[in-house]
């Protein structure tokens, strides 16, 4: 096993852990820090499989996205906790079990035959699927705009890792960067609007 493959496996574990922590975290400040770390790990994974330039572009995009969200969240209080959803189950044990199940399912799919069609290295498909799966879980579990925004950004990051290998073009990197920043801007707007209009009535 080469150094890059070993490093990639560690990075896969890292993105899986950050993905799970994003689902478990309740404080907005923690979410922002975990998101930044996740972007860093995802960029390193891109570096291990693609090139430094692409990884740097992804990292810059990720940090810009995090900065946009931090600026918005600062207005509603970085240290405050989310309100619990009254409709969806949201206890920590439930979230942890769901996240672990999704992570295990993603590992199973990454080893499955259909991923071979895409001709991706297994370390890449593993990291991408775990992130996409955990992002999807986040979108499904929560109803707060920040949570959904972060979930979508996680899905996109996972997808970008895989798609960057099968379609390595500058246009795709730029367009995905635009989508990421667009989602971050909309999420920021919604976070501030929710805080202004609903206060503590909904999870922000």
């Amino acid at each position: 096993m080469t150094f890059f493959e070993q490093a990639s496996i560690i990075l896969d574990i890292g993105v899986a852990v950050t993905g799970i922590l994003l689902i478990l975290a309740d404080r907005r400040m923690s979410i922002m820090i975990i998101l930044a770390v996740q972007y860093l790990l995802a960029s390193l994974l891109v570096w291990a499989t693609l090139s430094l330039q692409v990884a740097a572009a992804r990292l810059v995009t990720g940090l810009v996205v995090t900065a946009i969200l931090v600026l918005a969240v600062r207005n509603v209080g970085l240290g405050t906790r989310f309100n619990r959803s009254r409709i969806l189950p949201s206890g920590r044990p439930f979230r942890l079990i769901s996240a672990l199940l999704i992570a295990v399912a993603a590992v199973g799919i990454a080893r499955g035959p259909w991923v071979e069609i895409l001709e991706l290295p297994q370390v890449v498909s593993l990291g991408a699927l775990v992130m996409a799966g955990l992002g999807l879980l986040q979108v499904g579990l929560f109803d707060a705009p920040l949570r959904i925004g972060v979930g979508l950004l996680t899905i996109l990051t996972g997808f970008e890792i895989a798609y960057g290998i099968i379609e390595p073009s500058l246009a795709i990197i730029a367009l995905f960067a635009l989508v990421n920043i667009g989602i971050a801007l909309v999420t920021s707007y919604l976070v501030m609007l929710a805080a202004e209009k609903f206060g503590d009535e909904v999870g922000i």
């Binding site: 259909w114 069609i117 895409l118 996409a132 999807l136 979108v139 109803d143 705009p145 959904i148 979930g151 979508l152 899905i155 996109l156 997808f159 798609y163 099968i166 379609e167 073009s169 500058l170 246009a171 795709i172 730029a174 367009l175 995905f176 635009l178 989508v179 667009g182 989602i183 801007l185 909309v186 707007y189 919604l190 609007l193 929710a194 202004e196 209009k197 609903f198």
Partner: protein, 468 residues
């Protein structure tokens, strides 16, 4: 100068004008509408890649613009479709000032319009999914505003469109790189599955429709209609381009049969959900979903007439829906506490013209005879003929249910006179209401005004429409 850049610059100008006039909705609406109309005509008739002179000035407008190694191209394949989007925008902007919209509608609307149009011009066309996603990101700001801050529908749209984009991108890559042909059925099935999910999201096909009724309940119905019409139009053109480009997909009868079945299920669900609603906005949303079912059934015929018919239906639904939401926004001004369409009893006594406009728009949407939506349905049933009797009967039955839904709402509008004098509508909205009613009826009686023209929007798709 290239045509895509010209389109971009003129749209930026339009958006800037809309921003500058944001506190004067009438002027902003007029400038956006006339601007979009001018762009639509310009894109339709402009001579591309050939020098010509205007007032002694020699000009050459190229059809292509390179963007980071990819191209935005305006050709005969897509120019009619791009024009259609701008015509739709012009129609929607024209009546927008009556709808009490957020003041940034006139700057964000053209931007959204451009991104949808850009999705039709990008090459390779599979990247269109990213432009549609960018347009949706902008559209969220039209749906969720300080006046309508509820977020459920908007967030669902954002989540669904992101997932749909990923599905389309993945299927596009698989088509290009894994050698899908008619002789690789298993691979074709996998690709079609991804593709179907992506397009189901764009076209708001159940179960990916959930954002539409939520938004219709909690946002301004005019914005919801604007976004939904643009998204579904872009989705339909995108689907036609897929069919035009890949012979294995075009020749796959199972794909068309599947589309027809999905269309009929969408129609049935839309009809059943629409009649069971207590909220008018949601009833309209489900009627729109049923209308998508009609379009998919037309596409599912898998023949040139079906494709042209689907485009014609796209044009007439735009007319019906805009007239409907224009009337409805006028109606809400007279509703108690503007309760988002739950209690509209007796409203027709206070706002008779607004009620009539709303109901005629709705009748047009559901395909009632002598309205714009009817000829398309009639043509679809005729095309199906005796071979597809069950499908034809389903369309008739659900259309009947949807007409009943409209009559049920008409009954509610007229049921209890809660008192109060009828309030005369101001001149501008009154003029637009009469105009809308007349257009709905005229297009119902003389469908040849719109159907051949809109059908031409796909004329550049030679493999598909040319029937080779």
């Amino acid at each position: 100068m290239s045509a895509p850049i010209l389109l971009f610059l003129t749209t930026v100008l339009l958006a800037g004008l809309g921003f500058a006039l944001r506190r004067r909705p009438l002027y902003a609406s007029l400038s956006s509408s006339l601007g979009a109309l001018a762009i639509a005509l310009f894109m339709l008739f402009i001579t591309l890649d050939e020098p010509y002179s205007i007032a002694g000035l020699s000009l050459k407008i190229s059809s292509q613009y390179q963007l980071l190694g990819r191209s935005l191209v305006l050709t005969d394949v897509n120019r009619a479709a791009v024009s259609f989007m701008y015509f739709a925008g012009a129609f929607a902007f024209g009546a927008a000032w009556t709808a009490n919209l957020n003041r940034y509608f006139y700057s964000l609307g053209p931007a959204t319009l451009f991104l949808m149009a850009a999705s039709l011009m990008i090459t390779p066309f599979v990247f269109a999914a990213i432009f549609i996603e960018l347009a949706v990101v902008g559209a969220i700001l039209l749906l969720i505003t300080p006046e309508y801050p509820a977020m459920r529908g908007g967030l669902r749209l954002l989540a669904l469109s992101t997932i749909g984009m990923l599905g389309i991108l993945l299927s596009g890559w698989m088509i290009e790189n894994t050698g899908v042909t008619s002789s690789t059925p298993q691979l074709a099935r996998q690709v079609t599955l991804f593709l179907a999910v992506g397009f189901a999201v764009l076209m708001a096909v159940p179960p990916f429709h959930i954002w539409l009724p939520n938004s219709a309940e909690e946002s301004n119905l005019y914005s919801v209609a604007f976004i939904s019409l643009l998204m579904q139009s872009a989705g339909l053109f995108f689907l036609l381009r897929f069919l035009n480009s890949y012979v294995w997909l075009r020749d796959n009868q199972a794909f068309f049969d599947g589309m027809k079945v999905v269309g009929l299920i969408t129609l049935i669900l839309g009809g059943a959900w629409s009649i069971s609603q207590r909220n008018f906005g949601k009833a309209v949303a489900y009627a729109m979903i049923a209308d998508v079912g009609i379009m998919l059934s037309a596409l599912g015929l898998g023949e040139v007439d079906g494709f042209r018919l689907a485009l014609g239906l796209l044009g007439t639904r735009m007319v019906g829906v805009i007239v409907l939401v224009m009337g409805y926004n006028q109606l809400l001004r007279h509703a108690p506490q503007a309760d988002f369409g739950y209690d509209l009893r007796g409203i027709a006594y206070r706002a008779p013209l607004a009620a009539a406009t709303t109901l005629i728009g709705m009748l047009s949407l559901v395909g009632f005879p002598i309205t714009a939506g009817f000829p398309g349905r009639w043509a679809l049933i005729s095309l199906m003929g005796g071979d597809q009797l069950i499908e034809g009967l389903i369309i008739v039955a659900v259309s009947f249910i949807l007409v009943l839904t409209t009559l049920q709402w008409a009954y509610r509008f007229l049921r209890t006179d809660k008192g109060g004098q009828p309030v005369e509508m101001p001149f501008g909205p009154r003029l637009l209401s009469y105009g809308g009613i007349i257009i709905c009826v005229v297009l119902g009686v003389f469908p040849q005004i719109i159907y051949p023209w809109v059908g031409e929007a796909a004329s550049g798709l030679l493999q598909l429409i040319g029937g080779t």
